[in-house]
Structure formats: structure tokens, C-alpha cells
């Protein structure tokens, strides 16, 4: 006879105090040995690009992100997972100080970009180094060429001519895997492209100025499976010269693209580690429940 029945699951989830896995601090070296199942694991992670120390974000009295410490490395994809409203998008938007556009948002803790506090950087300069791709594809109402050239044009003090821009635009479109599809219609309106193409255009636009870090906020949630696969492959390829942070609520996607995975719940960073560890051998009870689909 079993006397100690585990309480109903939902009750655990809502009421239990957060249990944080041991060893939450980022491991010093590269990540653990790659498993054979992952299709694009390669190489060691490069130097640390961004460091988050005790980062918290408040919306008024509500604390959306609580004391999160993480590191973001070159050549590595960090996937943020967690149920809706767990603060992962807020965390992402804090990294290039987009939360400052929201009235009433306050931030505590420190974010370092290459060792410099981001607060000490001029905000547009920061955003040039830390680019972002949004959940909804948001190409501007201009031609495809103008979209990719947009940041190149607007970031420099003098307007470069088309001859200067053309190779850069081509390079960005190639890296985003869009060149072959659009090379004949560069002057067509960007909003005529399909959703998946639009999102890749947005990626091309973001990487055209060669930022150091690329933030992606659920980039595939508005797309069909085929476009999603294309973008996931693209993420794997871009990883070699960028640090990528991707927010997703799709665990399979995090597993497919992530080198490191951070699981957040109600603003807490519950567990952080190599993707294999999070999915195959999670250390915190809540991570285990989430990756097994007990809640979410």
C-alpha cells in the first residue's frame, strides 16, 4: 500500500517553490560531448560575447525576469524555452535594450557585451551590434533590396550608393539562403513574398550589417513546417560567425537548433545547460516535467 501519493501535478507546478538545478552557473569550458543524434553539432564554442549577471526586469510591481545569470558565446546557439509568460521574450528584448521602449519597464542587474556594460553604450550603437528578428515577419513596405540595404544605409552617416550596397545586399541574402529565390526581383515589394521568405528577408536585413549577436524571438511560430525547416537549417549555418539567442516555446525546435538550452519558468531561470542535458537528463524536477510535456 502506497501511503505517499505524489500530489496532483498541476498543484505542484503552481504552488511549489522554484527548484533550481545545481550548477546553474555557466560551465567554464565548452559544452558536453555532442550526441550523435543532433544533426549539426560541430565545433567548440567560441569566446563569451554577452554575460548576464543577476538580470531582473520589472513591469511596475510585477517582476517578469528574476535574477537571471547566463552567458552567450560566439558560435553557439542558446535556446530559451519555457511556457508562455515565463519572461523569455522579455529577457531577449532586454539584451538590446528594446524593453526601454515599453513604459514602466525597469531593469536590475548587469548585462555585459564583450566586457562592457550595455548601459554604458549608446543605445543605437548597442542595437547595431545586437540585432533582432521578431516573431511576426516585419519587412518594411519597400522593395526587397531596400529592406536589406535599410540598416546599411541608415547606420552610416553618408548614404552609400547602390553600387556599394549591391554586393553587401547579395552577401546578406546569400547567407540568409534567399538569394536564389529573389535575385531576379530585387525591386519587387518585400510584402509580396511568402511568410517564410519574409522571415528570411528579415534575417538577411538583420545580418547585413554583421552584428555580433543575433536575437530571434520565436522566428518560426508564424510559419509553416517547410519554412521552419529552412530557417532552422539557416540558424545552424549562421552560428559559425554569430552568437545566436533564440526564444521558442517549441521544445523540439530548441532541441534541433540549440547548443545550450535555458529553461525559464515564471521569470526564474530553472535550468541551463547543454541541450542534451536539458532534454535527456534534466536535473530539476520542473524541467523534467516540462520537457516531458507534463505541463506547458
Amino acid at each position: 500500500m502506497i501511503t505517499e501519493q505524489p500530489p496532483p501535478i498541476r498543484k505542484i507546478l503552481v504552488d511549489a517553490p522554484p527548484t533550481v538545478a545545481p550548477g546553474i552557473a555557466p560551465p567554464a569550458g565548452g559544452h558536453a560531448a555532442t550526441s550523435g543524434a543532433a544533426h549539426h553539432r560541430r565545433g567548440e564554442a567560441g569566446p563569451e560575447r554577452m554575460t548576464l549577471q543577476g538580470l531582473s526586469v520589472f513591469y511596475g510591481e510585477n517582476e517578469a525576469v528574476k535574477q537571471v545569470s547566463l552567458s552567450i558565446r560566439l558560435g553557439e546557439v542558446l535556446a530559451l524555452i519555457g511556457p508562455s509568460g515565463c519572461g523569455k521574450t522579455t529577457l531577449l528584448r532586454t539584451l538590446n535594450r528594446l524593453t526601454e521602449l515599453t513604459a514602466g519597464a525597469q531593469r536590475g542587474g548587469t548585462i555585459l557585451l564583450d566586457g562592457t556594460d550595455v548601459d554604458a553604450l549608446e543605445v543605437t550603437a548597442l542595437r547595431r551590434r545586437v540585432a533582432m528578428v521578431f516573431q511576426q515577419p516585419n519587412p518594411f513596405p519597400m522593395s526587397i533590396f531596400d529592406n536589406v540595404a535599410y540598416a546599411l544605409r541608415e547606420q552610416s552617416r553618408k548614404r552609400p550608393g547602390r553600387s556599394v550596397l549591391a554586393p553587401l545586399v547579395e552577401d546578406a541574402l546569400r547567407r540568409a539562403g534567399l538569394w536564389d529565390e529573389v535575385k531576379d526581383k530585387l525591386d519587387a515589394p518585400a510584402l509580396r513574398l511568402s511568410g517564410g521568405q519574409q522571415q528570411r528577408l528579415c534575417i538577411a536585413r538583420a545580418i547585413a550589417t554583421r552584428p555580433e549577436v543575433l536575437l530571434m524571438d520565436e522566428p518560426c511560430s508564424a510559419l509553416d513546417p517547410r519554412s521552419t525547416a529552412v530557417i532552422e537549417q539557416l540558424i545552424g549555418e549562421l552560428r559559425s560567425d554569430l552568437a545566436i539567442v533564440i526564444v521558442t516555446h517549441n521544445m523540439q525546435q530548441a532541441r534541433r537548433v540549440g547548443d545550450k538550452v535555458a529553461f525559464m519558468y515564471l521569470g526564474d531561470l530553472v535550468e541551463y545547460g547543454p541541450a542534451e542535458q536539458i532534454f535527456d537528463a534534466p536535473q530539476a524536477q520542473r524541467t523534467r516535467d516540462y520537457v516531458r510535456g507534463v505541463f506547458g
Binding site: 540585432a131 533582432m132 513596405p141 535599410y150 540598416a151 547606420q155 518585400a190
Partner: protein, 328 residues
């Protein structure tokens, strides 16, 4: 009978009744064109389209018509209304150009740069300004601005230099354009601000997230996306300025004179004029004289025609952005 009316209406009957009421509006437009064109016909009969051209003193020509009586000889229909047309073009064109620049800058300020507390005041104030009757602007113009210009800006030398052509009193193109601009700016700001707020958040955030500064993001993305609405604002303001009669008749000097740009920019701005709409108001007293009546209705027809063209222009302006998927 009453009993039948109380019965619930059938859908068919309701649709027909509502549809008929809606189409009554179209009937009004048709009637308007027919009636005005019909009344204006004699002028065209006697002058052709040449009545739009310059030639002679338009005030004298209209006076002849007033004195011509009930059965005017054909010669009394003679009219060359260019000064009035030119006055309309000048006041409307200048006011809309200045107004649009000012309204755009002010809208960007309100949407992007104004501190929250100032924004909370400025938005209702703009709406209030848009609702101020034009006659109040006219009153301020004629009692404050016109004497000021007449006493402090126009010198005796200015008056003397054109004394054989026209008298300078202060009521002038300058005052007319200033007041007209102030009058149409709030409408344009209201529309532009709405349009800028309606720009999808993703576009603005997308631009800002690329490290583009706030002004460039506004200018290259938001203004671009809001362009149809901005053109609509300009068209609406143009219609307002074109049809403004009372205020302009108060501050423009009410002289059938065509300000001459070759007099130099200073004198040009200080010369009086009278646009078409004001002429209609001022000559509406003498409508029983057939020649005046026909002339006044010809002016009205010209205004009606211009406003129809403006409506069409506003409609066409919305089209180019549709290919980008922008809905206005």
C-alpha cells in the same frame, strides 16, 4: 396603416428602404451638379472658357453686371476672372504647402518626441483647434493681424510704390495665408497623428532594433507607411482651404486683384486679393441680376469641379501603397 408599420419589417423591405436613403446622397450630388451647371450656363455661353483668363478689372466687370438689371445685354456678361482664380490658387497652394510641412513636423513631435505630460495636453488642444469656427479665425485676423501688418510692416514707401495699382491696407496675401495655415493645420495634424499611431508596431520596432535612431526610424518607416493618410490629410486640407469663404473675405482685402510675384516677394505678400469662394459670398446679395447670378454660379461650378478632382486625387493617392500591402 399604423398597424402595418408596427409589424416587424421583412428583411427585403428594410434593405430597400435603407438602400434608398443611402442612394439619396448620390441624388443630391447629381442635383448639385445639374443645378449649379444650369445656373452657370449663360456665362459659358457668352465667354466660353476664356472667362478664366486675365483681362481687365474683374471688379469693374462684376459691377457692370450688377447695374445691368434684369435683361442684361450680351456684352454685360463679359468676364475675365483670372485674378480670383489666381487668388484661390495662391492662398490654397501656399497654405497647404506650409501647413503640410508644419503638420508633419508637429505630428512627428507629438508621436515620437513629446514628453508624456505635454502630449496629454497637446492632443486635445489640437482637436479643439480643429473645431474652432473659421469666423473666429477671421475675426482674430481682421482685428489683430491686419492692423498689425498695416501699421508695422507696410511702410509708407511700400504704399507709394504701388499706389496707382492697388491700395495696401494690411489685409493681404500674407495675412490670408497665415490664418488659413493656422486653420487647416489642426485637421492635418489630427489625421497624421492617427496614421502614425496606426503604423504597425513591428515596423517601428524592427527599425529601432536595427540600431537606427528614432528620427530616422520615424522618417524612413513610419512616415513612409503613413503616406496615404498624409496625402489624404493634404487633400482634405486643400478642400477646406479652397472652399474657405467667410474668413478669407474678412482678411484678404476683398479686392479683385492678382498679386504679382514680379513686384518682389515683399510687395507680393502684402498685396490684397479675393479668392473665388469669398466672391460668391460677397456677390450673393446681387443674385437677382441674371448676369451676376450666372457668374457666381460659374464660380461655384469651378469650386465644385475642383473639389471633385481633389476627391479623385485622394482616392488615387491611396492606390500606390496597396502593392506593398498597406491598408489605409
Amino acid at each position: 396603416m399604423l398597424h402595418r408599420l408596427r409589424q416587424p419589417w421583412s428583411d427585403r423591405r428594410a434593405e430597400l428602404t435603407l438602400g434608398a436613403l443611402a442612394c439619396a446622397v448620390l441624388l443630391v450630388i447629381v442635383l448639385m451638379v445639374v443645378f449649379v451647371a444650369n445656373e452657370a450656363w449663360p456665362t459659358f455661353q457668352h465667354n466660353g472658357l476664356r472667362w478664366l483668363f486675365p483681362g481687365g478689372n474683374v471688379d469693374t466687370q462684376i459691377n457692370t453686371m450688377v447695374n445691368a438689371g434684369a435683361k442684361p445685354p450680351a456684352a454685360d456678361y463679359h468676364l475675365r476672372a483670372w485674378p480670383l482664380v489666381w487668388g484661390t490658387i495662391l492662398t490654397t497652394g501656399l497654405a497647404v504647402v506650409f501647413g503640410l510641412i508644419f503638420a508633419l513636423l508637429a505630428s512627428i513631435f507629438i508621436v515620437e518626441f513629446a514628453p508624456d505630460r505635454l502630449r496629454a495636453i497637446i492632443v486635445p488642444v489640437v482637436r479643439l483647434l480643429a473645431a474652432v469656427p473659421s469666423v473666429i479665425y477671421g475675426l482674430l485676423g481682421i482685428l489683430v493681424l491686419v492692423p498689425f501688418v498695416g501699421n508695422h510692416i507696410i511702410s509708407a514707401h511700400d504704399k507709394k510704390s504701388v499706389e496707382f495699382i492697388v491700395q495696401l491696407s494690411g489685409a493681404s496675401l500674407l495675412v490670408a495665408v497665415v490664418i488659413l495655415t493656422v486653420m487647416i493645420v489642426p485637421i492635418m495634424i489630427a489625421i497624421c497623428v492617427d496614421a502614425l499611431y496606426a503604423v504597425p508596431r513591428g515596423w517601428k520596432e524592427g527599425a529601432v532594433a536595427l540600431g537606427v535612431n528614432r528620427w530616422r526610424a520615424m522618417w524612413t518607416v513610419s512616415i513612409r507607411a503613413a503616406r496615404p493618410a498624409i496625402i489624404a490629410a493634404a487633400v482634405l486640407a486643400c478642400a477646406r482651404a479652397l472652399g474657405e469663404a467667410i474668413m478669407l473675405s474678412m482678411v484678404s482685402g476683398s479686392v479683385g486683384f492678382a498679386p504679382n510675384p514680379f513686384d518682389g516677394p515683399r510687395l507680393f505678400l502684402l498685396e490684397p486679393l479675393r479668392p473665388l469662394a469669398s466672391t460668391i459670398v460677397e456677390d450673393s446679395e446681387s443674385l437677382q441680376a441674371p448676369a451676376v447670378r450666372s457668374t457666381v454660379y460659374a464660380f461655384a461650378l469651378l469650386l465644385l469641379f475642383s473639389s471633385l478632382l481633389l476627391s479623385l486625387a485622394g482616392y488615387l493617392a491611396k492606390q500606390p501603397m496597396k502593392k506593398y500591402g498597406v491598408r489605409s
